[in-house]
């Protein structure tokens, strides 16, 4: 039986080719792995997978990402994975760290980091140097974060367990980050292809309650980032209440502005009005990645520059 997609009906006015969108939401998601460049080059990881007989395809926009053939072992059941040369990570979830674009040696915060796919991707993009502080408030999910960070050999990464909304940098002895990733807990509508029952508990109340937390985490991230630094806000959901509305509040309350998202994927611009609310016109610089655009899950990404 097909999972009901009723909660997505409200996005008909803002999604181009809505029928293609619904059809894509009903298809299972291709499985993907990211090459962990802390431990292996892309070519070596490819050679190891080939030796194992694992079929995969490269994705041009992100050379470090391979999608796996439908049949064959899962992302965590290969020798390449055992060695930490690859990590099972959905294609579109590799977007936010690439948009954040951290440099080796920088101080970077991942506010809601468990289970650690994006945090270890940040570490890899920084050649495992600088300081990556991977935080999560959920103690249960921290063990997965720690496990993955060690398995992938991320040695410049520290793990903290704080409420990101009033995050304190005191333990580290410095007072601001160069960049921050705010990949917040959300209603997860965009993961429908991976978890067909994701919409079962969907309610407008939940969307509204989670958006308050999202706003507070984003505001804290902007405050904790140096002038000229970058904050990336992302969710795996379509609801403008959790996306543009959250960024809009941060723009109004904190000293920051939107920058273009520069990725070689198809996406739609952020919306600037929704159900009677108007948002800052610069929100069209945000990216809405829909499942039918690139055969991925759904994602929202916004890039903010702090100060000046």
């Amino acid at each position: 039986m097909e999972a009901p997609l009723d909660p997505l009906e409200r996005y008909r006015p803002i999604v181009d080719d809505f029928e293609a969108f619904l059809a894509a939401c009903r298809r299972p998601l291709p499985r993907a792995v990211r090459v962990n460049t802390i431990k292996a080059t892309v070519e070596r990881a490819a050679a190891v997978l080939e030796r194992e007989g694992v079929e995969f395809e490269r994705r041009g926009w992100n050379p470090q990402l391979f999608t796996l053939a439908e049949e064959g072992p899962g992302p965590g059941s290969t020798l390449a994975s055992f060695h930490g040369l690859t990590y099972g990570q959905e294609e579109v979830s590799t977007v936010p760290p690439l948009v954040l674009d951290p440099e080796p040696g920088e101080r970077v915060w991942d506010a809601c980091a468990a289970p650690g796919g994006k945090a270890t991707q940040l570490a890899a993009l920084m050649d495992d140097s600088g300081t990556i502080i991977a935080n999560d408030d959920n103690l249960g999910r921290l063990s997965a974060l720690r496990f993955n960070a060690e398995r992938l050999g991320a040695t410049a990464l520290a793990v903290t367990n704080q409420d990101a909304r009033n995050y304190s940098l005191n333990p580290f002895g410095f007072d601001e980050f160069d960049r921050a990733l705010v990949d917040v807990p959300c209603s997860c509508e965009g993961t429908i292809r991976k978890n067909p029952d994701t919409l079962e508990g969907w309610s407008m109340d939940h969307v509204h309650s989670v958006s308050g937390i999202q706003r507070d985490v984003l505001r804290r991230a902007v405050q904790a980032t140096r002038e000229g630094g970058t904050v990336v806000y992302s969710t795996c959901t379509f609801a403008p209440e959790e996306n543009e509305a959250v960024v809009n509040e941060a723009l109004a309350a904190e000293d920051c502005r939107l920058r273009e998202v520069d990725i070689e994927l198809e996406y739609a611009p952020g919306v600037t009005e929704w159900e009677g609310d108007e948002y800052d016109p610069s929100l069209e610089r945000a990216a809405r990645i829909y499942p039918h655009h690139n055969n991925t899950g759904g994602f929202f990404v916004a890039k903010l520059e702090v100060g000046a």
Binding site: I38, K39, R44, A47, V48, R51, S77, T78, L79, S81, F82, H83, G84, R107, D128, S129, G130, T131, I132, L142, R146, F147, A149, E150, R151, G153, A154, T155, A156, L157, A158, V159, T160, N161, P171, F172, G173, F174
Partner: protein
């Protein structure tokens, strides 16, 4: 001498002479161990600091942190000390084991598969007994798998349960 406090990270003293906490190893001691036992060049760890959290659990870290620091983790656990024979971790062996030139035991494909699954195996080895880095040839290069304990003609896989795989 003060006592080790188990729930925070303390940076290791530079040398044994700088030691202020009972039983704590020094950075020099750790780096020398990796060199003496496995031939890993000391300069491998130039950018790293070493820390103790919990009794004898040594962490290696490349980022910034003051000492002491109370967080969940910094870098990775690399070594277990405060016991007769020091024991490197699986994750350390995978991350830095390719720098090793001694006490590395090369496994044939079947033995490697069993080792990854956490199984012990009888295997010939005429080097030192004790903790070894197990490795195998993977697409033309020696790739470290983890740490094994070699005694009486047997290599015991130390790959932790959560890391074991039936491949």
């Amino acid at each position: 001498m003060s006592e080790n406090i188990g729930d925070r990270f303390d940076r290791l003293p530079e040398t044994d002479a700088d030691r202020e906490v009972e039983g704590r190893v020094s950075r020099e001691g750790v780096v020398e161990y990796f060199e003496d036992r496995f031939g890993i060049p000391p300069e491998t760890f130039e950018d790293y600091t070493f820390w103790e959290k919990g009794a004898g659990k040594i962490w290696l870290y490349r980022g910034e942190a003051p000492s002491p620091i109370e967080v969940e983790a910094i870098g990775m656990t690399c070594l277990r000390t405060r016991q007769e024979h020091w024991k490197p971790t699986t994750d350390f062996a995978q991350r830095f084991g390719s720098e090793a030139t001694r006490c590395v035991i090369d496994l044939e494909p079947d033995a490697a598969r069993r080792f990854v699954a956490g199984e012990d195996g009888e295997i010939a080895w005429d080097g030192d007994w004790g903790y070894l880095i197990a490795a195998h040839d993977l697409v033309g290069r020696r790739e470290p798998i983890g740490v094994g304990l070699y005694v009486h003609g047997e290599l015991r896989s130390m790959v932790p349960k959560g890391r074991q795989r039936d491949l």
